[in-house]
Symmetry: C2
Subunit: 257 residues, 2 copies
């Protein structure tokens, strides 16, 4: 029997060309990495894009939650390690540990993947991949599971957007990480200079396509502890997100406060 | 004396998460790679971001021209090799060879980089880096040099855009590859299913910033051989581009035409 690699790690280096204005890994790039590393591990386990496509099936990302104490920084070597926490024939729960330079743990992520039939877009049955039970790891993921996201009406800010060529992915849908960019674009640059998103949750509900006109609508929760965002297509959410921010540490040279 | 590596190569693998709708490397990602590989080679030569910053100087990308017979494809291993073709104390000409799986040459790129003073934003003097002359390579780059791009008035199509958080780079300007996305977004998805941009030129004129409102304006040349695009801020171009398209080869199974 094959020996399965229960924990899979991908190491990255943050180049200047990949940085955001805060000289960090942008949250949308973290989401892209999460998808990439999940795909690589699934490929290594024989349940990746190609294997499932041969079966007429597709993994669809349903939910992500991540929590970071900071983001990887310019020129930093960082890594994402992933493992399967739970698995049944309809979906899998896959977690991630994010480490910075020297192996410092800087965050965790939780994801939920659903298998669907490529043609009907209905949940598929993964009975044939039952060997996956053997890869389940009991490694700890010390962040809370994703909660249900409730939109707040009426929204405090709404921006229209029409999906363009550059937003479309390999499956002809809007790229999962592009939604994250649109959600983060609800706030201005100065806000991210002073605060960082320390916990982020997104729930993907439906697929949007090229030329779809959406409204990106956000509201703060009554206690202002989180920003709730909904990307709406014909008044129905394509995805829902919840962002919690934390103040950035003051520079060490600033001793006046 | 140090032995300089005249030709520097970076190898990539195109994952599903990084693909565009045509299951290829998107042109904007090719531009990001060009910047990344140039930066890595400059770093290796001791004239990178960090070295120049210590000198109060910055490399600014002025022009790119690339020509491809095809783009790297989903799951393909591909590489960019770079070398310096010419160098003086104000700018450098750096070329690229793009290879696909098995080492097949699939394209070339030419770039021009100008060194500027970080504070005054005026051309800087790189006399102190004169050892760079030793890295000039006579490797051939068999594509035409960048030409002057003339806008066509009035434009045949114009789209407004306001720069967002996700468009801003490490230097607090709009990301060079983001302009390329906006330029490619002037056409629709179906056009890129039937045609690919076989030659692309871009000239970066000025820096745009967060919240700047621009107009992306395009016109075909009278002979329809190229699309000329200008991204305008207050009626002055931030960048100018010229895109030449070629029809994609028909699928081999299609024998009816």
């Amino acid at each position: 029997m094959t020996e399965f690699q229960k924990i899979y790690t991908h190491t990255y280096h943050l180049t200047a060309a990949q940085c955001n204005a805060q000289r960090e890994l942008a949250p949308a790039m973290l989401v892209q990495h999460i998808i990439e590393v999940a795909t690589e591990h699934a490929d290594a386990l024989g349940v990746g894009f190609k294997n499932l496509a041969a079966n007429g099936t597709l993994w669809v990302l349903s939910r992500i939650a991540f929590e970071v104490k900071r983001y990887p920084r310019l020129f930093e070597d960082y890594s994402l390690s992933t493992w399967v926490e739970a698995y049944n024939r309809h979906f899998s729960e896959r977690n991630f540990e994010i480490r910075g330079a020297g192996g410092e743990v800087i965050g965790y992520a939780r994801t939920i993947w659903v298998s669907i039939d490529m043609r009907t877009r209905r949940p598929a049955n993964l009975d044939g991949f039952d060997f996956l039970r053997q890869v389940v790891s009991d490694k700890e993921c010390p962040i809370e599971k994703q909660g249900k996201i409730h939109t707040i009406d009426p929204p405090q800010m709404c921006h229209p957007y029409t999906f363009q060529v550059s937003d479309i992915d390999v499956n002809r849908h809007v790229n999962s990480s592009r939604y994250v960019e649109l959600i983060f674009n609800q706030m201005d640059l100065e806000t991210y200079d002073r605060y960082y998103v320390s916990r982020f949750e997104i729930e993907y509900r439906r697929e949007a396509h090229f030329a779809d006109d959406v409204e990106v609508c956000s509201s703060f929760t009554p206690d202002r502890s989180a920003l709730i965002t909904s990307i709406n297509l014909c008044d129905k959410p394509v995805c829902l997100a919840r962002s919690e921010t934390s103040p950035r540490p003051q520079p060490e040279t600033n001793t006046t406060r």
